[in-house]
Symmetry: C2
Subunit: 184 residues, 2 copies
Amino acid sequence: MPGIGPKSAQRVAFWLLKVPDEDALRLARMIVEVKRQTRVCTVCFNVGVSEICTICADTRRDATVVCVVEDPRDVVAVERTREYRGRYHVLGGALNPLEGVGPEQLRIRELLYRLDNDGIREAILCTNPNLEGDTTAMYLARLLKPFGVKVTRIASGLPVGGDLEYADELTLGRALEGRREVDA
Amino acid sequence: MPGIGPKSAQRVAFWLLKVPDEDALRLARMIVEVKRQTRVCTVCFNVGVSEICTICADTRRDATVVCVVEDPRDVVAVERTREYRGRYHVLGGALNPLEGVGPEQLRIRELLYRLDNDGIREAILCTNPNLEGDTTAMYLARLLKPFGVKVTRIASGLPVGGDLEYADELTLGRALEGRREVDA
C-alpha cells in the first residue's frame, strides 16, 4: 500500500488483531463493496459509481471543453479549484517509454473518438508539468491539431504566494517565457 | 543580520576573538570597501560598482524591454535563468500600505521617465506573485498602459517538475486560467 511501510503495516496488523470481530468484518466488507461498486466511466474513464460518471452526466457542465489528465486523482485536484466547468478525459498515465508506457497503453484512441464525435472545441492538456507529462502533452498536441480543436496547455510559472528568489531557474524561465499581456 | 540569531551571533563573536588580528582587520576593511564601492545604478537602480550597472551598460542587451522587479536580488534570480536579454528596473520594494510603502516610496516616477525617454516597447511586471507584488503589478499596469507600451505579467502556474496532486487550488486555478494555445 502506498505510504504504508513495514512499521505502519505491523501497527495496522496488530490493531486489526485487537479490534472487535465485527469492526474487522465491516472493514473487509467495505473493501469488497468499494471494489464491487466502483466503475470506470465509459466516456471519460474517471472513476465513479455508474456507467457514466457524475461529471459526464451533469448537463450543466460545458461539453465543448475537455480537460485531459493523467489520473482520476488529477480530476479531484482540478475540481478542487472550483474554476473549471468543462468535462474530463483520463488518459490512465503518461507516456514513459522506459517503463513500457506507449500511446497504446493510454486512452488516446478514445480521446480522438470523442473529438470526432462529441462536439469538443477545446482540449486543455492538463498532464503534470514534468518530463513524462510534458512529453505526453507535446505528443497529444501534434495528434490533436488536425482535428481542428483548440489545443491549450496549463501554465507553468511561479506558484501563487511564491517568491522570485526561491523559484528554481527553470520555473522562473518558464514564467518569463509564458508572460501574458495585462488587460488593465 | 538576516539569518543570524542570538546563538549564531555569539558563535561569530567568539570566532572573531579567536582569529588573528590581521584576519579580523581584513574582514573589517572588506566591509568598508564593499560599502564604499557599491553604487546604485542611476538608470535601473540595481546595485553595481559604477554609476551605470553592467547590465545597463551592456549594449548587446535589448534596451526596448524592461523587466520591473522589486529588489536587486530579483535581478540575480532572473539572470540565473539565462533566458532574459533585456534591461531591468528595480522598484525598491512593493506597495504595502500597512507598512507605509506607497507609490512615492518606490522608483515608479523614474520608471515612467524611462518609458517616456528610453524607447521602451515592453514592460514585464516581474514583482513577486504574492499579495503585495500582485497589487504593485496591477497598479503599474494601469499607470503604464497610457504610455503605449506593451505591459506583461510573468506567468503563475505549476512549477516545472511539479505534480497536479500537490499543487494548491489557487495555483492550479491560475495555471488553468493562464493556459496557452500550443503551437505544434
